[in-house]
């Protein structure tokens, strides 16, 4: 029974890249959402949560239109990189980033909200400006939430299906990921291979959740130690 290793490496690459992209843009976004009271911030919150309630096929459909050479994003990509955005790994990364956005941002917002305002006030009075506070207060104190957010994002992207189905193109070593391969095997009535992949996904999901649980426990222990409990 041969295993399609290329499918697994592509899937892991996609999950890692998406997590990295979300870490870079999601951290400042989460910090702003956690601390800003502005009208725009309050509007942005439900926008960020939107991918949670939209069916992936809807997101995929709109992305398909956006990625086509006639669509805004697709046209820009074509002129900049001379490559099609649809059916590309880059296109999948964009899709996954949108799809997993709430899975990264929401735990980060919670973690950032837990930083006491008084600590931030103290750092402000010591002369720390906004960007300074982000790097010297938010990031160090939001460490734990960051780890959880990364694990959640990674695990969620591994399981992504609907969007990849629409905009991926199922290209081996580029956009053919585990969930697509699983779908193909079921369609082709190759249940043995399907079982292997599905079992692998379940095991992976379970391990991810165990890691999150372990992270939460150790953070709780650290907090208790710090409080002298």
């Amino acid at each position: 029974m041969s295993v399609e290793w290329a499918v697994i490496t592509t899937t892991i690459q996609l999950a890692l890249t998406t997590t990295l992209v979300l870490a870079l843009m999601g951290l400042p976004l989460a910090w702003w959402l956690a601390r800003s009271d502005s009208f725009i911030a309050r509007l942005a919150q439900p926008l960020v949560s939107l991918p949670l309630v939209l069916p992936p096929t809807v997101i995929g459909f709109y992305l398909l239109l956006a990625f086509s050479p006639k669509g805004g994003l697709g046209k820009l990509w074509l002129t900049t990189f001379d490559r099609s955005l649809a059916f590309s790994f880059a296109g999948l990364v964009i899709g996954s980033t949108i799809y997993s956005l709430p899975f990264f941002v929401q735990p980060m917002v919670v973690a950032f909200k837990q930083i006491p305002s008084s600590i931030i006030d103290a750092s402000r009075l010591l002369g720390a400006k906004a960007i300074d506070r982000f790097f010297t207060i938010a990031l160090p104190l939001g460490r734990h939430g960051f780890l959880v957010a990364c694990v959640m994002t990674f695990a969620h992207t591994i399981g992504e299906f609907g969007i990849v189905l629409m905009i991926g193109g199922n290209i081996p070593e580029e956009t053919r990921v585990v969930s697509i391969a699983l779908f193909d095997y079921v369609e082709a009535m190759d249940y043995q291979r399907a079982h292997i992949l599905a079992g692998g996904l379940v095991a992976f999901a379970f391990i991810s959740l165990l890691i999150v649980e372990w992270l939460n426990q150790s953070h709780l222990r650290d907090s208790h130690r710090r409080l002298g409990l």
Binding site: S123, R124, L125, G127, L141, R226
Partner: protein
Amino acid sequence: MTGAYERDHVLSVNAAVTIGDQALIHCEFETKGRGVLALYGRSGAGKSTLLRTIAGLTSPSASKGSRVSFAGDVWQAEGSFKAAELRGVGLVFQDQQLLPHLSVRGNLQYASKRAHQPTGVKWEEVVQATGIEALLDRHPATLSGGEQQRVGLARTLINQPRLLLLDEPLASLDPAARQQLMSILLRVKAQFEIPMIYVSHRWDEVIRLADDVLWLENGQVKQYASLSALAVDFEMANYQQDEAACLLVGRAVHTDLDQALTKIEIGDQSMWVPDPTLGIHQTHRLLIRIQNVGLSLIEQRDSSVLNSLRCAIVDIELGEATALVRLDCEGQRLLAQVTRRSCERLSLAKGVEVFASIKASVLS
């Protein structure tokens, strides 16, 4: 008399803070530009809110219409608001907000790197003044309340603020730690020249540290005067009741180790206080509870009370059962609380010379 230094450190405030449709504070004042201004009043009077507004931590919308400026630098006005991090003001909180992910040394370095002005305060000076040498490599979570407050104070000082705000820094400490921190504050006041605004609802703290007092009630200024004036103010004494106290300032001249007493010179007169540790030739503040002052028409020599000072009555306020008598002793003002009956019996009146028997305790 305002010289260049004072002018460079005058804080001008016209604060109006509302939450919803409730006005929290509405007051206007200007500091002298040096020394310690105490914001005094009962809990909920708006002292902390006022402090936070000065620091720039109250949102512009809540403090709309307020004007705050320091040494000509406008911090808040109609249409402009300088962010807290740009004001160069230091704030020592009631519960120290030490950065939990850094050691004590790390906290100090954090502050020192972001110093508001390049001059003055050195690392060693601050560490010594606050007595935290032994704590430098510890982590905030492992420190006691008093230790955290000392570190917090050190951190604020190392940050070189132009104005130092303190929001009830002693409130959450036990008596021993409170004593220790107060000594440090007095030391800091003497050693580092930073104007301070000190918030407290405890008169014994105010009387030790302050030079001027802003008395706040319901968010508004009730009285604004020097400490020595308010210490003998009738309204203040009535408000404070059992806590009422005034002060005398004198120079220590002689220690009697045998009897554990120190002789303090007050003008041409002198007093004995039961503390042999006072530094000779140094000025000290003596706390005098107004209930501990007895008046007599003749000098008391055969009494258990050590001190009998010749004073002149300046003013009397008669109450139902008690009377407040304001005295002048060697140019300083004192307050005594006696029974009305005694007042009448001794025919105490303005201008009458009396002898005050004083049980004093030392403040510094």
